[in-house]
Symmetry: C2
């Protein structure tokens, strides 16, 4: 449906149980630095697959897929500036493109919900709250930037259970990187996220913070590469891999 | 001691509890393909750290260390052929070198022993048994080759416990890749390992196979790069990181 152009909306809730991934496409000359950046920052930039140079086929996670056509919406950035949004990148494809598929927190939210842990932004029909922290990523070549986190409020006992659950999934952000006082990681205004929407935090809840896939995108944009193509927010690539296959235990 | 040349023997048993790592040094022109090869084969090629181009300092795992001097013995290979063994590579260093530190099974053997699981090759004073399998690594650029495994015999109940224990350590090979009948992964002669020594397998034991750090070295040699420097077998780099820090749960 997506390939034929019959689905151009966000992928939330599509093909439940199958892993959805963030996409970053860069010319080869930037690929070594970006691969190293992801390797050095696995909690924020968990790589699911990296394609061969010039190939748009993700052989490991979706051998019948094509990254030129199989996302509902793409964003094209030139010199770090947003240029346009398109539903097919066939006419933009270059022989030197390398595609990076990066894990997404959708994968661990399903087991959180199955364990009875509420996910406030879903309950409230908003986007997840995301914040820049004062923690620096390990830099790699031209890429550097702050760790960006997503936040989900929950009761302390739920935060403990959520830590257990997400520890099983190191390839999709893994365990939280912080629980509690936001100021300890440089977040001064929990009500004003840097990306996404604010959500309600009840009296008896603590904010729980996970590494966020916005981190690599922000690092890429800050380095102003000539050309980079990404998924449009929420318009992810759906792989053939089941979420549970990412669990290490 | 190692830096001063006062210790040129294997590192087995030194600095117990601290992670030891395999070393592969390659000129930058090979580094993208090798980094991608490791990323695509995490169970056999678990990366602990990759240095910046030209730097011999492992900033993350041993900021006061120097990979030019801090291994007791190195091997230099030219065009895929062994050239010489040295105790210091300062005079061989090139500005285009990238160093890869790769996880080693020493890290998970300690918790196996602490759980009362015998490690036969240690009991018998031999080297671990290693075999080429009929499983192909995912290739990356010029690098390809078979998955090489290490084998430890144990009782079935111990194999189950060993699976639990090593699953905690995905960054140092993780869970076994096979238990039982060696022929199912292309090993015809369990008594004749391709590398290391044969060990006794008792009647009530099964062979348990883990991804082995020989895999990336074999793939590198097969591609015959002009120059590659590795640790000499058993003469590892000792990091400042505690083994337990690699556990994800």
């Amino acid at each position: 449906m997506i390939r034929k152009g019959d689905w151009t909306k966000p992928t939330t809730g599509l093909a439940p149980g199958y892993t959805q991934a963030n996409l970053v496409i860069l010319p080869k000359k930037y690929a070594y630095d970006f691969l190293l950046f992801c390797m050095r920052n696995p909690k924020t930039c968990p790589l699911i697959e990296v394609t061969d140079v010039g190939s748009s086929i993700p052989h490991k996670t979706a051998p019948d897929g094509d990254l030129k056509t199989d996302l509902p919406k793409y964003r094209i950035y030139r010199n770090g500036e947003f240029a346009e949004e398109v539903t097919d990148i066939t006419s933009y494809w270059q022989d030197d493109f390398v595609s990076f598929l990066i894990g997404c927190s959708f994968t661990f939210e399903k087991p959180l919900l199955e364990n009875g842990i509420p996910i406030r932004y879903i309950e409230e029909g908003r986007n997840v709250s995301m914040y820049k922290t004062n923690i620096a990523c390990e830099s790699a070549g031209i890429f550097e930037g702050p760790v960006v986190v997503s936040m989900r409020p929950m009761k302390p006992a739920e935060a403990i259970r959520a830590t257990q659950i997400t520890s099983r999934f190191p390839s999709v952000h893994g365990a939280p990187i912080h629980i509690g006082d936001p100021s300890l990681i440089g977040i001064d205004a929990i009500d004003s996220p840097d990306f996404g929407d604010a959500v309600t935090i009840h009296e008896d809840e603590v904010p729980v913070f996970w590494g966020c896939g916005v981190t690599p995108q922000a690092a890429v944009m800050a380095s102003k590469p000539e050309l980079v193509i990404t998924h449009a927010p929420g318009h992810m690539f759906i792989t053939d891999v089941k979420d549970e296959e990412h669990a290490v235990i």
